[in-house]
Point group: D2
Chain length 321, copies 4
């Protein structure tokens, strides 16, 4: 039964910490253009959320000399589930130990990936309670849709770059119960990229092979994504981005993997951000056979139609090397 429970023990991605060398620029991008809401500031960190993110923070932006991933935070399905997964991590090479918490959440257990991406899992977390003027009669929405920027709804997923995709597959699937939705497989049978889920969406966490060395021993970030909900939204936000001199790397286009519609843009701190339009398909089948794309099919897998994805997508990550 422990083994059956494992695949349900992690419930969701709750937030991500992003490093930026340009705190002001990054916060302007997420607040003024993408309509995120600031919920608190502490030291060199600003805590933000989208208007349909249910907790007080889905994006923590922290000033640092180089851009990249601070950490990713996942919530367990219950206090017991948290205990079970922590035990598994403690018996592995990846566990680090508990921290007391942060703005918006209680104790969290930290661990690292083979590439030294920092992660945490937790149970106690603060739900967002809107001030009266922002409460909405749409009762399942945490607050009114903002009137500033072109607002995204919620955090969706992160894609990390790795020198040990197989090691991450083992860590996240065997120890933590993540499921494999789709993957790109090289001719030698090893994975070039793995799309992992803990919910019915295709991905909360993706690892793809990094061809460059890590910088300062830190695992690199390819991108992370916020969701709009409709392809039309991508065409409108692309105007906003282009009119404000942001660099759209690719899109709007449709991914093969996940069937979402998407665009990639660099925020002022240098990190790649993905914006999702159409949320794609959901996986309900409990014995889902992971969808396998070969190396030759990589273009269809990433960019199902449209112009070819630029080489930069596969190479650039933060920190840059």
């Amino acid at each position: 039964m422990e083994n059956e429970l494992k695949k349900f023990d992690i419930a969701e991605l709750t937030h991500m910490e992003l490093y930026t060398p340009d705190l002001e620029g990054t916060v302007w991008f997420f607040k003024d253009l993408l309509g995120l809401i600031e919920t608190s500031r502490e030291g060199k960190s600003v805590y933000l959320r989208g208007y349909e993110d249910t907790y007080t923070c889905s994006l923590k932006v922290t000033e640092r000399d180089k851009p990249g991933l601070g950490h990713l935070s996942f919530r367990a399905s219950s206090p017991e589930a948290l205990e079970r997964r922590v035990k598994a991590l403690e018996n592995s090479d990846y566990g680090k130990g508990w921290i007391d918490g942060d703005a918006g959440h209680g104790p969290a257990y930290q661990f690292v990936t083979p590439d030294n991406h920092l992660m945490e899992i937790l149970w106690e977390i603060d739900e967002f309670e809107a001030p009266d003027k922002n409460k909405t009669i749409l009762k399942n929405r945490p607050q009114k849709r903002p009137l500033h920027g072109y607002p995204v709804k919620r955090l969706d997923h992160a894609m990390l770059m790795s020198h040990d995709v197989a090691g991450n597959k083992e860590l996240f699937m065997d120890l933590l119960g993540f499921k494999l939705s789709e993957h790109i497989v090289k001719d030698d049978g090893s994975d070039l990229g793995i799309w992992l889920r803990v919910t019915n969406t295709v991905n909360e966490l993706v690892f793809t092979e990094d061809e460059a060395p890590n910088s300062e021993g830190l695992g690199r970030l390819n991108h992370f994504a916020f969701l709009y909900g409709s392809t039309q939204n991508l065409f409108e936000v692309a105007e906003v981005l282009k009119e404000h001199d942001l660099e759209i790397e690719a899109g709007p286009f449709k991914h093969g993997i996940s069937q979402t519609t998407s665009l990639y843009v660099y925020e002022p701190g240098g990190n790649r951000v993905e914006l999702y339009g159409d949320p794609g398909y959901l996986i309900f089948n409990p014995d889902w056979k992971p969808v396998k794309w070969t190396q030759e099919e990589v273009q269809d897998a990433i960019m199902f139609y449209g112009s070819p994805l630029p080489e930069s997508f596969f190479i650039n990550g933060t920190p840059n090397v």
Copy 2:
């Protein structure tokens, strides 16, 4: 642990059987207008699926003197999960027993609701394998998008009418592990309607109070829904429906509950069909507090904006009484 596992034991709604007094008309509606694909015929039944339904059947249409629900079929998360839920049903007033199977699936355990809606749970089921000419390079899609009709993607949920909403809540939540996403609560504290989920979507199964007596001892069907994926699709299919003399009861509009966009139409056999555009929000929070709408808020709950929902929506169901 058994109790922890319970809430993950049912994985998904797989198909529904619909009764119709006009088999030809109903099949024309689903195939020629909504683009469903016929996979087999047996006796007075036609087996259909949407182009993104992963099994061989999501809608079985069966000729019968009156319209209404044949049965709903859910898939368990594993053979062990099926065993656990069957045991729980056998120890209740609702269990009926095993059947050998049907076109497209193996043995299924049947049970009934307090209103005598027929249900089944199963594990063994046939995945759809497209003939070569319909295979698609979009590898996570079971087949090409059809070139006939204005095609829906997949089955989404069903709403049933009940004289014992509380009994259904107990049956589906306590015995089968369904979770309550949203509900409409009467002034006396009892539920007027309950929106239940087994996945991250807001509803696979909904029960609302039936003010009319059951007909022939059969629980009534309010409607069931197929998904498109975008609000734009609703406006286009509404044209198709209207140009072919179908009766659109309401919509396109946006639901408060689930935030989906929707329209209701009567198929030629007399059953109400819902078409989903925007798929709405997902619930990831493992300790989700069900969203509660009061009786005064029922209009916002069902039809968040637009013209008022006609009285017929709350009264009509199949079989008609």
Copy 3:
């Protein structure tokens, strides 16, 4: 040739003046919610425009004890065209005379309709020149898409209520060269409503029969419309409107006439405002036969699908009576 030229002499609707008893509320509605841009203020008037309106003003909001239409302004195709149309008006019962101009335009010739709606035609008008920070690299757009509110693009048309639809038809078609796109015809053969165009769009100006007496001798306004461009926009602005307690009278739905998608909302001053999503079809055919809807088809004509249009739509206008 004069007769041939007549049908091209009026080029476009340029702006409208709206009366409101709640200047602050009306300006909040148009700026904070609908994203209009304020270009100037004079006395009790605020001059506004959408981000794709090409002149400095498309909506002049003026404080007055009752809501309603101030005036509508049309631009001629050339100085010669203006001269020709003024001559025709001077020889009619409708001509009033020249005014010197207003913020944003030069001399204008005023005239009235049979119901005493005030109108003007002009040639000299100021094109909008964006301040540097709002200039856009999308060179055919007058300025960047705003980052406040949920911004409409441009003014589209006005619908006026009349006790003499036939008189207006004569005035606008025979004297001014407007063309009839569609009409609703009563059983006695007279027009219940006429949709008039000077461009390839279906309507710049609409007259429908007013069943109530005029108030203070002023012709009444049914509504005027701003354009978004996509049906998806209507569903998003409807959320904004509903979350800010505005009263949506009807929609989003699709008009039969014009095939636009639409919603109606009351602004705080009490005037009905229409928002267009899909811009509908265009008329290119130079010998277009006006599309005729009978009185029984009025529901399809106004609201092609969805719930019935409320009675208030046909009765309410400003000033209220």
Copy 4:
């Protein structure tokens, strides 16, 4: 007055003749995938129209050894307007003479461009009258939306390749009254491309510089376009195209010029076809200053956001050289 009238003498683009070496493949593409309706066949020609094209033919497909443009047909604003324009052409180097007519229209006056693209103007033309089963209660639409393929609404425009853009500008603007909406201007001040209109849309006819020699003395076709109406449509038809092995050259993306959303695809006969989603902006201003893009801005002009347009777009045309 004659000069004033000139700019209104041509009313619209009515149809285009396309050459194809693969008649069956080309007709399959337009009928089975894009949902055009066949209205007649004569010899080696098939006559087609979209469901919102108002005449009996908007696309005539004719078998020939090489792909390319057969001819373009424009309708005058009146019989008198036709007479005036024919007289102007007869006094020029471009006039050819009258033909008796073709399926769907009466006498037409033929002329050629400096590159020997064949053109005609006409007045008498057959409006499409749907058979009873295809008549629709949406009375301004010529027929029901088809239930086959993913149907386009109507023909929009054509882009031709030229060795004498200046000569075409003179022919179409000075002799025929076309207006210049936007242009791309080379460093030496000459036009690289001109977007011409006779209606309020940005373009019915576009000429861009051809760097390759003409083949067989025939002016080349870059592409012609059919309209959907919404960006969402482009993403859905792109799936259909890709799933049926068609080559999407670029898009969906947004044009700078015209602000339409678009994709380019090669039909089986080898001609490039454009599909329009969002119909873009309209030009109402009677003294419109043509929007000028420099040679450095050509990417923004053609593809406002997304990946760069492939070189093939600027080079390939039919007949291929």
